[in-house]
Structure formats: C-alpha cells, structure tokens
C-alpha cells in the first residue's frame, strides 16, 4: 500500500459492517500484514510435534480454571471449625485454607469440577512438557540453532514443576502438609544455611502460619508470570528458527515442508485446543483427583500411609526412599562441631535431581563438543540413526523411572504382594545398573534397526511369498521399496569417530584427547547407510523386478 495509491484513489470503503470494522483495525495496526506473514509460516505435520501444543493448551486451561478457583479460595492459615456440608469433617478444627478448599469442592456450584479440571490439567501440562522434551531430545532437535530454545524449554519444565508443587500444598490437607514437611526436611539438611532458609520460608518453625499465603503468591503470581514469559520466548524462537522436520524426499536443512499456518493448520490447532480441553473436562468429570476430604486437615502429628507427591516430584521422593540410612556400620549422619550433617537426606534429595538437570541443560553443548558438529540442523534424526544419543537418553530415562517407581514402592509391595524391603533392594540395584543395561540394550536395538533398514534398502522388503526354484531351493521373494521409502532408509548421516585434532599451535592437548576418546565411544559402532553404488550393485543385476530365475541373484535375494 504505497503513498501514491492512497492519494490517487478515494479511501477504500468496505461494503459490509464486518468489513468496515476489519478495515478499521487493519488501517491502524496493520493486521493483514502480520496475518499474511504468519499465515504463510509452514509447519510440518507429525503427531509427535504436537506435545508442545498440548502443553500450551493445558496451560491456558490452567489459567482459566485457576482464575475460577481464586474467586473462592482463601489462603489463610487462621483456625476455624468446618461448617460445610461434608459430614465426616463436621466441626473439625482446620485452617481457613482447607475449609475454603472443601467449600469449593462441596458448596460452590461447579467448584469440584473446576478443581479437578485444574489438577488434571496440571498433571497433563507437566506430562506433555516431559514428552515434548523427550521427542526433542531423541530426534536431535536441540542441535544448532535451537540450543537456547532447549534451555528455555528445560527452564519451563522446572517452572512447571514449581507451579505444580506450590499448588499441591495450597489445600492445606494432610497429604500436602506431609509433602511440605518432606521439603522442609530437605531444606533443613542443607549444611549451615538450611535451618535459616527453612525458618525464613515458613516464618518460624514448621508449619507456622505464613507458608500457605506465601506459596499462594508464588503459585498465582510469580511462577505463572515466569512461565508465560518463557512460553513467549520459546514460541518466538520457534518462529525465528522455523520448525524442524523429519527426513524425507525433498526435505533438507534449507526448507520446511508442510502446511501453511493459515488456514488449514490454524484450524487444526484451534480445534486441537478444544480436543485437549474436552479430554481434560471428560477426565475431570469422571475421575476424582486429590480427594482432599479423605485426608483431613493438616496436623503435624499424623503421617498417612501412601503419602506421595504428584507424579513430577515423584522422582525426588523416590530417591529419598531409596537412600539407605546406614550401610553396615556406616552412618550417613555426622555431627561436626555440634552441627548435624544429614547426608542420608541431603544426597538423595539434591544429587540425582542436580545431575539430571545439569546434564539436561548442558547436553546440546556436550554433544557438540564431542562431535565437533557446529552446523545448523533443521532435519531431524530418526532415533535409530543416532544410536549413542538414543542410548544416552534411554539410560537417563530409565534412571529417572527407577526413582519414579521408588516413589510408589509401598503400592508396588501391597499390590503385587511382595516385600517392601525387596522392592527397595531391587530398585537400589537398578538405580545403578538399570541405566547401564538400558544404554547397552538401546544401542544394540538402534544398530539392529539400522541394519534392518540397510537390508531393506538393498534387498527390498519380505513379501511372505515363498517360491521353490527348479533345483529344489526355497526362497522368499523380496519386493523393492519405492524410492520415497528408500530415501528415508538411506538419507541420513552416519559420522565416523573424529580423531584428536591438533590446535592452532599444532599440539594435541589433553582435552582434545579426551574428546577424541568420547568421539570414538560415540561413533565407533555404526551402520553406514547404503550408498548409491551399493544400491546399484544390489539392484543392478535384476533391474526393476526381483528376478528369481537367475541363479546368480538367488543369494542376494534370499539372504
């Protein structure tokens, strides 16, 4: 819209009311330009790309249901006597916070449904963030230029956990109070400053009268604001980087193949929001979550059996359960100058989570350093085509799952009729050997799948048709795969180990030697994709059809 056209012609007047309004907005904010730009953004279509969307939508649902809950929730730890309609708690002394949570559940129209929507959406939010991260990790989508977005995403995971935990404690029921007590214990185990931090947080000795109000402010103000900020940064970078795509014919690091945002993709994404909302609403309507009336008001003396945190904090709880208090005669508790250093709490609470998150945040750079691959990547790896990375991921995943399972050790014991002690012993062993087994098994599976791909690329797929040759031999006829499929099977990189390189002074230093060792470990076991000449050799003899009459071909066919 140049200056010449606006002066030469009379101002454009839309015919309809809607058109006039649209034009009014467009002339002032330039909406059509933005829409044109965004509407043309292309998104590749794959089901595994949609978990980020699920997380985003769950978050929107959380904001909406959470706002409803704030209307009726009172974060006060003042004492009151319950007078609502739930009979087993009639006249029981409790905090105002718990009483108002019960009122939301029993005396406010739609309150229980909204509470359940909020809580189920929270579980789905963190779960979809986690699955989204697994997808990004296993497909190598964190590589340049997306390292920073990976860090933002990891931060989002931590923030999601923080949001969940601060919300978990708000009803001030027995279950959440027990959880808070565990956190208090963990904080107090930190040497020197632990006690001070705990007293600062709780405004005195646990439980005090301040913590619910403070957690509430964090839960409805600070943490959601940070999450929103991070989501904006996250999506902004997605727009800047454009979306990654799975390998396929016509797809490379210089293009994006898929649907444009408008109109098809936008319609799909908008509809998907309502699908996610519908699924959460259905679950919330049919299944109880956190029945706070079962647990009763918080009181520091009772600790209920079966006390567990929500699933995303479960791995920390599990690590605490796994840690032995003593090994033989060795105690993990020391008294130094009259101060108690309680390693049996400090180690399991901080070390596994610390390792997990440090590796998670730094992994893009660790891999970059080992592989020296500083190129931009927009085409994803199929997990099998990066066997070592996939194996590392699975090792971490199994490690996490062992701790996760440990948080349910008591339920495993009662429901499978096994000894609680045995469950713990096995999980302790798996804590150490599980990741190693997972690494080896995953790597072998990935390599085997690569060999299978290579085999299919070279010799075609098995048709299940057995043919008997004139001289009596039986062979199975293999049909060649079409070239689209073959592209997927052969179109990937398979780097070789990179030996130690001298630096600018011509010296191979120690760190470079270590890098070379890791590079060898990373790429040593490899299955190269079938090269064009190999394909030629495999197919050349029998042209387009799998000939079965030539005896020279039989070996390559039947193998």
């Amino acid at each position: 819209m140049s200056a010449a056209t606006t002066t030469a012609e009379p101002a454009f007047v839309a015919k309809t009311k809607g058109g006039q309004i649209t034009n009014f907005v467009d002339e002032r904010v330039g909406g059509s330009g933005i829409l044109r730009e965004f509407g043309r953004k292309v998104f590749p279509d794959h089901w595994s790309f949609m978990f980020g969307e699920v997380a985003l939508y769950s978050f929107v649902i959380l904001l909406m249901s959470g706002t409803f809950l704030t209307f009726f929730y009172d974060p006060s730890m003042a004492e009151t006597h319950y007078t609502g309609s739930y009979i087993p708690l009639q006249n029981v002394e409790m905090s105002v916070a718990y009483s108002s949570s019960l009122n939301i559940s029993f005396d406010i129209r739609g309150g229980l449904f909204m509470r359940q929507v909020h809580h189920w959406a929270a579980l789905l939010f963190v779960a979809s963030v986690a699955v989204h991260m697994l997808r990004v990790f296993f497909t190598g989508a964190f590589r340049k230029p997306r390292e920073m977005n990976w860090v933002v995403g990891s931060t989002l995971l931590i923030l999601a956990m923080a949001a969940g935990f601060t919300g978990y404690s708000l009803p001030d029921d027995l279950l959440s109070g027990n959880g808070l007590r565990i956190i208090d214990g963990v904080i107090k185990s930190i040497p020197v400053v632990g006690t001070f931090i705990s007293f600062f947080l709780f405004g005195g000795e646990f439980p005090g009268t301040a913590v619910i109000g403070r957690l509430y402010v964090l839960h409805i103000l600070l943490v959601p604001a940070l999450i929103l900020l991070m989501i904006v940064a996250h999506l902004f970078m997605v727009v800047v980087h454009k979306h990654t795509q799975y390998p396929g014919p016509g797809r490379n690091d210089g293009n994006v193949v898929g649907y444009p945002l408008g109109p098809v993709y936008a319609a799909k994404a908008g509809g998907f929001f309502f699908i996610v909302f519908g699924v959460i609403a259905l679950i919330a309507g049919l299944f109880t979550i956190n029945p706070i009336w079962n647990y009763g008001p918080y009181d520091p003396s009772p600790v209920s059996a079966g006390t567990q945190p929500d699933w995303y904090i479960g791995f920390v709880d599990g690590a605490l359960r796994l840690m032995p208090g003593v090994i033989g005669d060795f105690h993990f508790e020391f008294v130094i100058f009259g101060f108690v250093l309680s390693l049996n709490v400090l180690l399991p609470a901080l070390i596994p989570a610390g390792i997990l998150f440090s590796v998670m945040f730094t992994y893009p750079w660790i891999e970059q350093w080992i592989t020296k691959d500083k190129r931009e990547h927009h085409v994803l790896d199929r997990p099998r085509n990066a066997p070592t990375r996939t194996a590392i991921g699975m090792a971490g995943f199994v490690w996490y799952c062992v701790m996760w399972a440990a948080a349910a050790s008591d339920l495993i014991a009662t429901h499978f009729h096994v000894s609680l002690n045995d469950v713990l012993y096995w999980l302790r062993a798996l804590f150490f050997i599980g990741p190693i087994i997972a690494f080896i098994v995953t790597k072998r599976i990935a390599l085997a799948l690569q060999r299978k791909d290579r085999e299919i690329a070279l010799h075609g797929r098995e048709t299940g048709r057995i043919v008997r040759l004139p001289h009596g031999e039986f062979i199975e006829v293999h049909a060649p795969v079409d070239e689209y499929k073959r592209y997927k099977l052969v179109g990937f990189e398979s780097p070789e180990p990179l030996p130690a390189q001298p630096n600018e002074n011509g010296v191979v230093d120690g760190s470079e030697k270590r890098r070379a060792l890791l590079s060898k470990w990373f790429f040593e076991d490899r299955v190269a994709p079938a090269t064009p000449s190999e394909l030629e050799a495999a197919h050349g003899h029998h042209g387009d059809h799998e000939a079965i009459d030539s005896s020279a071909d039989n070996k390559s066919i039947s193998r």
């Binding site: 009979i87 087993p88 789905l124 979809s128 079966g306 479960g314 014991a413």
Partner: protein, 263 residues
C-alpha cells in the same frame, strides 16, 4: 502425733516417705489398670455346650499348630488369654485357619459358620480372661464421624492410609484396606491387635471413641465418591499413572488422527 513429728528427722524418714510414695502410686496404677483389664475381659454369656463343642472343633482344626489345650507349639502361639474377640476376628475373617505360612495371614472366605466361630470363641475364652466380643451398642455406627476421623488419622492412618485404603509394612507385611470390613471385626481388631497391628485397649482409645472410629469408617465406606471414580483412593501415584496412560494415550490418539492426512 508428737512422737511422729519428733521422728521426722530420723535418718530413715526419707526412705519411709519414698516407700510410701511408691506404694501409693504403684497401688493407684494397679487399680487403674485393673479397671481397664476388667473392662476388657467382661465375659460373654457362652453356654457350657458352646465351650464343649468349641473344644472339639479346636482339637480337630487348630490344635495342630496351637497345641492341645491351646497351650501353643513351635508352629503357633498359645491362645490362653487371647479372649473371644481375637478368635472371632481371626476365624470370622477367614485368616484362621491360616492359608499358608508367611509374613502375614491373608483374609479369605471364612471356613467356619457363625455358630462354629462362636463355639471356638467360647472355648478359647474359657481358657483365660481376655477381650470379649464387643457389645452391639458400640457397633451401631451412631457415633461422631468427625471425631472418629480425627482419631483415625492420629492412630490408624500411618498404616491403614488416611482414606483407609491400606498400606505396606516391612518385609511383606501390610495393613489391609478397611473397605468392607464389618464393624464387629474392626472393633475386635482394635482390642486384640491381630497380625502386626498394635493393641488399642480401652485405656488408649475408649469404647466410645472406638465407636466413633467405626462410625467414621462406615461413613466414608457408604458415601459415594463425590468427584467420580476414585481410582482406588491410592493418591497421586494412581492419578499420575492414569494421566500418563489414559490421558496422554487419548491425546496421542487425537494427534495421530489430526496429522494422518499427510506423510
């Protein structure tokens, strides 16, 4: 009196006083505990024939482990003084005769009918004083559910779970879920402490308080779950499992459907 006051500085006066003090407290304690004991061992009105039939049943079904005269063997403890309540609980819930040796006897369909259970109770009660069968008035579920809930959370929830869904103990032992356990058996369990359960005698939790606890348990048993299917009332582990398997499963189904047109 003068003689007594003159002797108040006698070297043995302190010893005498101490002795007196100990005797008084000890005596009072003995009286107090006897009161509780007396409450715990009020005998039910079993007939002589009940006892005689019970002895026969015992000899045929229980004596292998518990010994003739219930005096105990290496395989089973003596039952002298366990009282009718213990027999009624163990036999009435099917835990005895025991299905198999293990960390804990499992509940199973009762092997004896009510009459036979009563006869066995009569026989064991005749061997020595012990907790008797509870009175009907304590089992009517007409107590204070809210107070019972508080007592339950303080005394029982650490093993049985705040929602009475049960919980794990060490080495294969466990506290069972209390859903569907009869009021009588709950009461008997409290006074006799079966398996790994501690005894909650009448000095610890009064009969009226026990009535409140039973009222609470019956109340949560009969109230349907207000929020929908309760997923076993097992807390966040069940909820987490559900969202990962069912919730994400359905969502993944939809994502596949939405993207099925291309590729």
């Amino acid at each position: 009196m003068k003689a007594l006051s003159q002797k108040r500085r006698h070297p043995l006066a302190a010893v005498a006083l101490l002795l007196l003090g100990l005797l008084v407290t000890g005596g009072l304690y003995a009286v107090a505990t006897n009161v509780n004991q007396a409450q715990a061992s009020t005998t039910n009105n079993f007939t002589a024939s009940d006892t005689a039939e019970g002895e026969k049943l015992f000899a045929a079904n229980c004596a292998t482990c518990h010994g003739m005269g219930a005096s105990g063997t290496d395989a089973g403890p003596s039952l002298v003084g366990v009282g009718a309540a213990a027999v009624d609980f163990q036999v009435g819930t099917g835990r005895m005769p025991m299905q198999m040796n293990g960390p804990q006897a499992y509940k199973k369909p009762a092997q004896f009918n009510d009459e036979q259970t009563n006869q066995l109770s009569a026989y064991v009660a005749s061997l020595g004083a012990g907790p008797a069968l509870p009175e009907e008035s304590l089992l009517d579920g007409g107590g204070d559910a809210a107070k019972g809930g508080e007592l339950f959370r303080v005394n029982c929830a650490m093993c049985h779970n705040a929602a009475a869904a049960g919980g794990a103990l060490t080495r294969g032992k466990f506290a069972p879920a209390l859903d569907g356990v009869s009021s009588k058996h709950i009461y008997e369990a409290m006074v006799t402490g079966p398996q790994n359960m501690p005894v909650f005698n009448d000095a610890n939790i009064s009969p009226d308080d026990k009535r409140d606890i039973i009222t609470f348990l019956k109340q949560i048993e009969t109230t349907s779950s207000p929020g929908g299917a309760e997923l076993g009332a097992l807390g966040p582990v069940a909820e987490g499992l559900f969202i990962w398997v069912a919730g994400l499963g359905v969502i993944i189904g939809f994502t596949i459907w939405l993207t099925s047109r291309t590729s």
